[in-house]
């Protein structure tokens, strides 16, 4: 079942024997039980699996928000588990865009300012930030809503603000944890179209977590998680 993903150049993302354990002794929970995944530049990957199967944990490790309990995670050849907190923060700000499960926008803060946030930490000057954030909002179809706070936006609009925030830095890798989880089908498909366009036109590597087949179909490759293990990993069309 597992397809052969050997490439000539080293892959962008390489997980080998990665485990993640929460708690110790009796109370220990194995979120990941030794997974091997390689993802190359420009891939569009969907991660599927039932609730609690370790999808979010895996995504957090890939995004350098978390580190493996054991095993190795190489990002662009760098062993992330050996980096300091600050070094991982620097990796995040330079290479990754996140769309979190739930929207995780700053409340009582305008859409524009929410989108500006990652740019602040990249040291982009204010006028340039405004411009880029405005463009990112327009790209997700939210022009005219710049000054709205999350409370004044619908769920779908909030999700699109979150996507704009992830895209505004033009990241190499976009990680999205159930980006359509709270949306109706029409909105969800809109967002998937948007992600597909980003992957195709800008060559952004995308990893999205979803439990809906309909959404996963947009990806080139589907990785299936069961109980902290990779049950299947197949390119589009290889799996029924």
């Amino acid at each position: 079942m597992v397809a052969d993903h050997e490439h000539s150049e080293p892959p962008l993302i390489r997980l080998e024997g990665v485990t993640k354990v929460y708690g110790t002794g009796e109370a220990a929970t194995y979120a990941l039980r030794g997974i091997d995944i390689r993802i190359g530049q420009g891939e569009f990957v969907a991660v599927m699996g039932s609730s609690g199967s370790g999808k979010s944990t895996c995504l957090n490790i890939v995004g350098c928000l978390d580190t493996p309990s054991s095993g190795s995670y190489l990002f662009r050849g760098t062993e992330v588990g050996k980096l300091t907190r600050n070094q991982r923060a620097l990796l995040r700000r330079q290479y990754f865009g996140f769309v979190f499960q739930g929207y995780n926008l700053l409340s009582r803060t305008s859409a524009l300012e929410n989108v500006e946030l990652p740019l602040i930490y990249r040291g982009v000057v204010r006028s340039k930030r405004r411009e880029l954030a405005g463009k990112a909002l327009a790209a997700v179809g939210l022009q005219g809503r710049e000054t709205h706070s999350p409370a004044e936006l619908s769920g779908g609009q909030q999700q699109r603000v979150a996507i704009a925030r992830a895209l505004v830095t033009e990241p190499d890798v976009l990680l999205a944890d159930e980006p359509t989880g709270n949306l109706d089908t029409a909105r969800s498909l809109e967002i998937m179209d948007l992600l597909t366009a980003l992957n195709r036109d800008r060559g952004i590597t995308i990893v999205i977590v979803t439990h809906e087949n309909e959404m996963a179909r947009y990806a080139d490759r589907i990785i299936n998680f069961v109980d902290g293990e990779v049950e299947s990993d197949a390119r589009h069309g290889e799996v029924a």
């Binding site: 957090n60 995004g63 928000l65 978390d66 907190r85 600050n86 923060a89 620097l90 995040r92 700000r93 330079q94 990754f96 996140f98 979190f100 995780n104 926008l105 700053l106 009582r108 946030l117 990652p118 602040i120 930490y121 990249r122 040291g123 925030r165």
Partner: protein
């Protein structure tokens, strides 16, 4: 980065105006208390110094008897006029010498009466004590020689007996003695120990001795030393002279006391300064308590904003940047408190100075120190909450509800 942190801090403070105001209240009161205490204390010190200077800093006071600790005095014979004359002759650098004898007396004019002190002295008294006549004249030589029934009123006595009326030429009673008012003195106000120095009546020494005391005694001698001359030297000379005149053998102690006003000045200003320091320290404690208030609210704020911190860390904020953000917020809060405290302190100092009739002496140093202290409070008490924020685990923070 700092600019952004500053903008964010203002944003956050505006978002919670009421809470921010309550948070900084402690610092406001602390800073205001420190500055007010020190300002009023400084005013009091200046007042003490000025009052003593108005007495004449080169003043020596000689009294019979030796101080035996805590205000007690051994009995000793009083001075005589010969002692005064001898001092005038033999001590160099003397500017003026005034012999004084005094006792309490009730003064009466018409229906008004007033209990005061009557002092037998001469015109030198005015010179030694820097007294100026408001009205009338000094004693004449013949009045002094013959013991004339004339008097010069201190400002308080004049006010109590005559109010707004003209006192010159009127006859008043000093106990059993009736005498004519020939002058009145300018007011000097309260002395540093709270005695009203205007509450006295002057009469010629001879008149006092003959008509009131019935003896030739002199209770106290005031000597003022010429400007620039050494008071210590004069003090030494006076001691030697008086020991000789009073036949004190080398093995015996002095049976009189020479006091230097400079010593008294030092003692009194020293006391005020210690008091100021103490009050300032108490006020500083309240500033510390204000700082703890800021820390408390910052900790609450950090917990409340856990998700926000998680988001910032996830999009690439470094530990140091989150630390800066919260630290700047605490510092901005406490400096607002400090600034408000300075304003409050200035208002309170002016009012308190008026109420306590102490001069308002603005001490720019303590204003700056007070403000900087409030900034320091922000740094110290903001650091712990800010560090707590910076050390959060991004994932835990994001999961926080």
């Amino acid at each position: 980065m700092l600019y952004n942190a500053f903008r964010l801090a203002l944003h956050e403070i505006r978002r919670n105006v009421m809470r921010s105001l309550l948070t900084i209240l402690g610092v406001v009161i602390g800073v205001a208390a420190v500055i007010t205490m020190v300002t009023i204390g400084g005013g009091a010190t200046v007042q003490v110094t000025e009052q003593i200077a108005s007495l004449g800093t080169n003043l020596l006071i000689i009294t019979p008897g030796q101080r035996m600790g805590m205000g007690q005095r051994a009995a000793a014979p009083p001075f005589e006029m010969d002692d005064v004359d001898a001092m005038g002759r033999e001590i160099g650098a003397v500017a003026a010498i005034a012999p004084i004898s005094s006792r309490p007396v009730t003064t009466i004019f018409g229906n008004a009466n007033w209990s005061t002190t009557v002092m037998g002295t001469d015109n030198q008294y005015l010179k030694v004590g820097n007294w100026a006549l408001e009205m009338g004249r000094e004693f004449t030589d013949s009045e002094l020689r013959a013991g004339g029934a004339v008097c010069i009123l201190g400002a308080t006595v004049r006010r109590e007996l005559f109010g707004n009326q003209d006192a010159l030429g009127s006859k008043i009673r000093l106990g059993k003695l009736s005498c004519q008012v020939i002058g009145s003195l300018h007011s000097k106000g309260q002395s540093t120990i709270g005695r009203d120095r205007d509450d006295a009546v002057l009469i010629p020494l001879r008149t006092f001795q003959r008509r009131l005391a019935g003896n030739q005694d002199i209770g106290l001698i005031q000597v003022s030393i010429q400007r620039g001359a050494s008071t210590a030297r004069a003090e030494q000379d006076i001691k030697e002279l008086m020991r000789k005149r009073r036949h004190i053998s080398a093995s015996e102690d002095d049976d009189f006391t020479v006091m230097d006003l400079k010593d008294i000045t030092k003692m009194l200003t020293g006391t005020t300064q210690v008091l100021t320091g103490l009050l300032g320290a108490v006020a500083a404690v309240s500033l510390l308590v204000g700082g703890i208030g800021i820390m408390n609210i910052m900790l609450v704020s950090v917990t409340e904003r856990t998700r926000e911190i998680g988001i910032r860390l996830a999009v690439g904020a470094l530990e140091r940047e989150v630390l800066t953000q919260f630290l700047v917020e605490a510092i901005v809060l406490s400096s607002f408190g400090g600034a408000a405290g300075v304003v409050l302190a200035l208002v309170a100092s002016v009012l308190a100075a008026k109420a306590l009739s102490v001069p308002f002496v603005l001490n720019v140093g303590i204003v700056i120190v007070g403000f900087l202290f409030s900034v320091g409070v922000g740094v110290v008490f903001g650091y712990f909450p800010a560090r707590k924020a910076a050390r959060m685990d991004p994932i835990e923070a994001l999961r926080h509800e």
